[in-house]
Symmetry: C2
Subunit: 127 residues, 2 copies
């Protein structure tokens, strides 16, 4: 028996709900595609969760997985058309998040893992 929804929002939340799915989708929408890159952009998620969510999004037809079958492994994920149709939702969430952060004086700690700005091996990092 397929799940019964009583409101379109219920259906939407059932598919893209949860703490991480929208964040993953938003990153993919912004052009982050590789698994490792997603990980670095989301320091709060565990590898297990990331993989699990990616698999679910794949199963729901929102993201497609592309394994280059090279070694070292290289896999990237991108939005399908169905996933891309979520753009308005993701954008709205993003925009609201920005506004809310300002209103509540919350800072966003961007983990900008850009190769050009990342610390070199020689750079001492406090630990």
């Amino acid at each position: 028996m397929p799940k019964q929804y009583h409101c379109p929002v219920e259906l939407a939340v059932d598919i893209i709900g949860g703490a991480w799915r929208p964040v993953i989708l938003a990153h993919l929408k912004e052009g982050v595609h590789r698994y490792g890159e997603l990980r670095r952009r989301m320091p709060g998620i565990s590898e297990k969760m990331l993989i699990q969510r990616l698999r679910e999004l794949e199963a729901e037809g929102l993201v497609a997985r592309h394994d280059h079958k090279t070694v070292p492994p290289r896999v990237d994920y991108h939005l399908t058309d169905e996933g891309a149709s979520l753009a308005p939702v993701l954008q709205a969430l993003y925009d609201w998040g920005v506004g809310r952060a300002e209103r509540t004086k919350t800072t966003i700690d961007w983990p900008v893992t850009d190769r050009r700005t990342a610390p070199k091996e020689g750079t001492p990092v406090a630990e």
Copy 2:
């Protein structure tokens, strides 16, 4: 130490995430205000959950609770300005849900609890 977010979407989802919060907010946005009415519109939620979520949304400043202090009890909830600022998010979720339902041939089982169409006491209901 306040929670650290690494992306505005993370922040947004942390506040309005979960299975029920967006649905409640969407209903309030549409003009359903009384507690009992919300319940009837969301047959899948238990009373406990509904109250719990409403309390959380209240604490986050998204909804305001108004107790008429009459007997029998009459309480209604409405969006605050902060809650109303979520309109684009809720609308996007709603619209996507509608489209997704069509694409996946999922039907939405609206629990239209309208007094004019609701069964009268005399109406025998199979059980």
